[in-house]
Symmetry: D2
Subunit: 342 residues, 4 copies
Amino acid sequence: MTTSSEHRVRVGVIGAGRIGQVHALNLAFRVEGVELGAIFDPDRAAAERCAARCRGAQVVDDERRLIEDRSLDAVAICSPTGHHADQIERCAGAGKAIFCEKPIDLRLERIDQALATARRAGVTLMIGFNRRFDPGFKRARQMVVEGRIGTPQLVRITSRDPAPPPPEYVRGSGGLFLDMTIHDFDMARWIVGTEVEQVHALGANLVDPAIGEAGDIDTAIIALRYHGGALGAIDNSRRAVYGYDQRLEVFGSEGCAVVGNVPPTTAVLSRAEGVTADLPLHFFVERYEAAYLAEMQEFIDCLRHDRAPSVTGEEARVPVLMALAAERSRREGRPCRVESPA
Amino acid sequence: MTTSSEHRVRVGVIGAGRIGQVHALNLAFRVEGVELGAIFDPDRAAAERCAARCRGAQVVDDERRLIEDRSLDAVAICSPTGHHADQIERCAGAGKAIFCEKPIDLRLERIDQALATARRAGVTLMIGFNRRFDPGFKRARQMVVEGRIGTPQLVRITSRDPAPPPPEYVRGSGGLFLDMTIHDFDMARWIVGTEVEQVHALGANLVDPAIGEAGDIDTAIIALRYHGGALGAIDNSRRAVYGYDQRLEVFGSEGCAVVGNVPPTTAVLSRAEGVTADLPLHFFVERYEAAYLAEMQEFIDCLRHDRAPSVTGEEARVPVLMALAAERSRREGRPCRVESPA
Amino acid sequence: MTTSSEHRVRVGVIGAGRIGQVHALNLAFRVEGVELGAIFDPDRAAAERCAARCRGAQVVDDERRLIEDRSLDAVAICSPTGHHADQIERCAGAGKAIFCEKPIDLRLERIDQALATARRAGVTLMIGFNRRFDPGFKRARQMVVEGRIGTPQLVRITSRDPAPPPPEYVRGSGGLFLDMTIHDFDMARWIVGTEVEQVHALGANLVDPAIGEAGDIDTAIIALRYHGGALGAIDNSRRAVYGYDQRLEVFGSEGCAVVGNVPPTTAVLSRAEGVTADLPLHFFVERYEAAYLAEMQEFIDCLRHDRAPSVTGEEARVPVLMALAAERSRREGRPCRVESPA
Amino acid sequence: MTTSSEHRVRVGVIGAGRIGQVHALNLAFRVEGVELGAIFDPDRAAAERCAARCRGAQVVDDERRLIEDRSLDAVAICSPTGHHADQIERCAGAGKAIFCEKPIDLRLERIDQALATARRAGVTLMIGFNRRFDPGFKRARQMVVEGRIGTPQLVRITSRDPAPPPPEYVRGSGGLFLDMTIHDFDMARWIVGTEVEQVHALGANLVDPAIGEAGDIDTAIIALRYHGGALGAIDNSRRAVYGYDQRLEVFGSEGCAVVGNVPPTTAVLSRAEGVTADLPLHFFVERYEAAYLAEMQEFIDCLRHDRAPSVTGEEARVPVLMALAAERSRREGRPCRVESPA
């Protein structure tokens, strides 16, 4: 028997829901240099189903036991948002490196407390803004970095989900901007490499009246003004009947990079009634499969090679500032400044 | 010799510049049921060059002589914007049907006076919002009308010129919104079939400092709110290095129609360094060739069959209201209501 | 009145059918430096309808009167193939420059006689292989000429009609290879700039039994071997339910140029059931509109500037040799050499 | 600790080269219901590197020990072609289910012996024609099966490698048709669901003179005639400078399905010099990643649920018959019948 487990990072996963399973499977089978050490979910059956798919990961009954397990080097936090800040603090207390799903919290104070705790503990903290690791968006970012589009002047982001979440989810979600647009806010600043100074958000409730009754919107346009003068626009919908619509465009003085949707195949059927192609990949698990793998690989590589992750807690805080400004803008019907990240 | 000139509408053209030539050539050679009667341009040589390309159209020395020529049924006004309102009024006085390039005027009062004059005279007046006649945009509009995208919820318009006009042009242009975005404002309301209630315009001077010195902007994002709740965003640039970028997207409860750029050919070259396709058609004369022909054909058909044109003076007035609101919004840094068209 | 008819070439058109109308309209309205002088068709009503669309072209009752009309410099022969050789000879006798639709004749001897007559008379003769003037195919040819694909090694041509012709047409057509593939044979040698040495043609009757009963095929694959070693394949069908399918690919040591179909618009509709785009332009009049105009412009330019046309009678003879070899190959079930053009 | 190894199929892998690693990694991490039991390669270091990537798979020193290992249910044969038949026979003798890379052998007699042995032993045998499991080609096949293209009439397959193999590989490869086109032969019959009756192969040595010196060709067109009348054409090159070019088209009485290349991203860059998109995925490991996974999953599912695999030894024998006929056709310069599979 020859094994090669030297220098493997051991990671525990908290939360065995949809995104927890994505990370657990990647840790178990696809990320190099790692071992999936343990899984916890308050719903033990869910944890066991997940472990079974991961061939024998240990299931633990108690979140604290996982966090304090000395055999684990790191924890991937895939619980509902409301638990993130507490779990970050507990993991920091136990000296664990932390990968945490976005957002850290819906309240800025809790984010700041959690970040301060992690900073004091000196642990690595990476937040799961997965879209930065999408091969297409990375290619566009690389074009910007290499100067191939010149100076960025306009950004356009389309981000539409295939179907709205249930109203009870909406109620606890922090609203469209903190729950959904937050990814686009991150993308907007990352793709250009400049901060957004001002947002103006228009919202509407066009998809599902229950979302309006829950006090939220399901359709939005957010106009952006960057420091330095570039402009941008994000559009969102909670329901695109044709699937997950995720597109990005960055236009500059020397060119324009456009990233389109990704279909499962390139098959095209021509018949008397038209030329038909595949719908885009349905939702985030399919569309961002490669991105989820690449982000976890970066997290593990950072731990193994003692590097700082690209999506720090401080990085992840800025889209929250943007979302809060957008929410204010929408309620007050006027453009609002984004609070300075510093 | 067999001829068939019965029932031909005779049209005179005022202005033999770039767009005047497009219309003159279409009237001379491609529009059915029409005869190009006469051409006037204050620059007589320009008029003669244009007439030569049109095989023998008469060149006249005096605008009034053309307008009052009893052998002409209609006049196509292709002069600079500052003359439109006067010429409309003179044509109306002479009982001529009028095709006039957009916009009617930069000042709302002059527009209203000219429209009132034309209305009192009972003459047909059509304004040249050519993009409505583009085969791609017409297809998208048809999809909306047929309910194939369901209820419109989001509109996105990209409209970027290949190169900025000279600063002296900019100075008299009325500004980006009245000069360039006006087409997009018309498109925005026409594609959905609903009026825009509120605009919020962000502008920047990123392309050419001389444009800023002329008091104008060259880059813009305009967020739109429609009556009924739909939202939209227009983005503009005075310079896209890759050519004329003219795209439209209308998203609704049942689907999404996207109209892309039009390349001159479908030839694609794959080499070791990449897969390369044609740039879009360079500018309006090429991109909207079919549209200019179709709009003039509609004008002539309206005259021959006594129908009202689809782009009346009243229709053409609304984008001016939108542009004025956008300009106010940009100056005041806040969303502004569009004055009601009624 | 200012006109500019100096140096205009005067052209008469023989044949007012589908393709005759295309050329007559181009001559009347779109080609520079030309005047449509007269139209003849044995069906006088057809000639008159065509003349009416061309605003007053003269209709003549007698083919000879047109050919011998001293006011005409050139004749465009758009009659059925069976008349081409005779008309070429008569035009040559009358000293007229000749534009003739392809093919010159279905019999090689008649082609050679007609070409010899034209040669002796010293008149310009151009044959209507329109596809060489298609902007997309021209772009591909230019890529080959500029060495951007390196040395050509493989050629693929897809050429499928939207619907089969009636059996009575098929009977007099000379068969699929002389009637339809002849365009592809011309394309195959022109795109590479090398002659085809050997063809192997496979045919089948899959579309319409009446075509089989008329002794012809409606589906074919023709494998080509070029002098120098490059290989090629053409595929044909008389019925593509989705419209006119006209594609070309040339692959070489440094790259590959692919020309796709041309849709009328770029509009794309995404709905729950799929992403749908336009069918290709329906048939040759639409797809090759620009090509027909460009080829006639070249013909006229050659006359005005005393240049030789690119598609001489000798050029046009080679695809006939290829078609004859293909027919032999199909009947004998083996590859056949193409007779040397020299 | 909760594990779920019940009912897992245990598989040993012979051969730790490029394709052996693909299968080993899939068996170790991505295929459901399986366990990677052991790896053998005559180059022990290669086997160990592969095992290390698979987290602790056992490395064995002796092919026979692996084949006779009672803890293994199945063997994946990923050795060079020359060993396949022997290994199939040994595995059959040991009662192992067999997954074997294509082709079984270059000689028909050895194929038939090996198939007979496996049949007598009653073991499951699946051959790795991976392209049938490509999502795009599967989609096209499904369209054919569902009748969406009607009756198939024409098939076009483009299959070009990014770079030629070294001449020493070519020498032992059995030639282009058995080594490379064999995939296309399999695709050609599978996509339509009908056997090919006759092939006519044209070959050339245009890419690398060393291939010609090794007695082989590197460029080919193969024309196909199917039972029932459909026609087809395959084109091959050993070097497409722009990467792995893998396309398929099946045209029928009711429509046409086209499967294009697959780029790594949809990012498109527009600059003044052109519109540039990604090259296709470079080679088989990248392009057919999903296909390799799906085929191995099918193999395991067949074992777990006692089903026959879709690519039996008999299925895999037919492309060899086609390749042999193509080779004869090329050498004799005439179309050749494909020996009946029965």
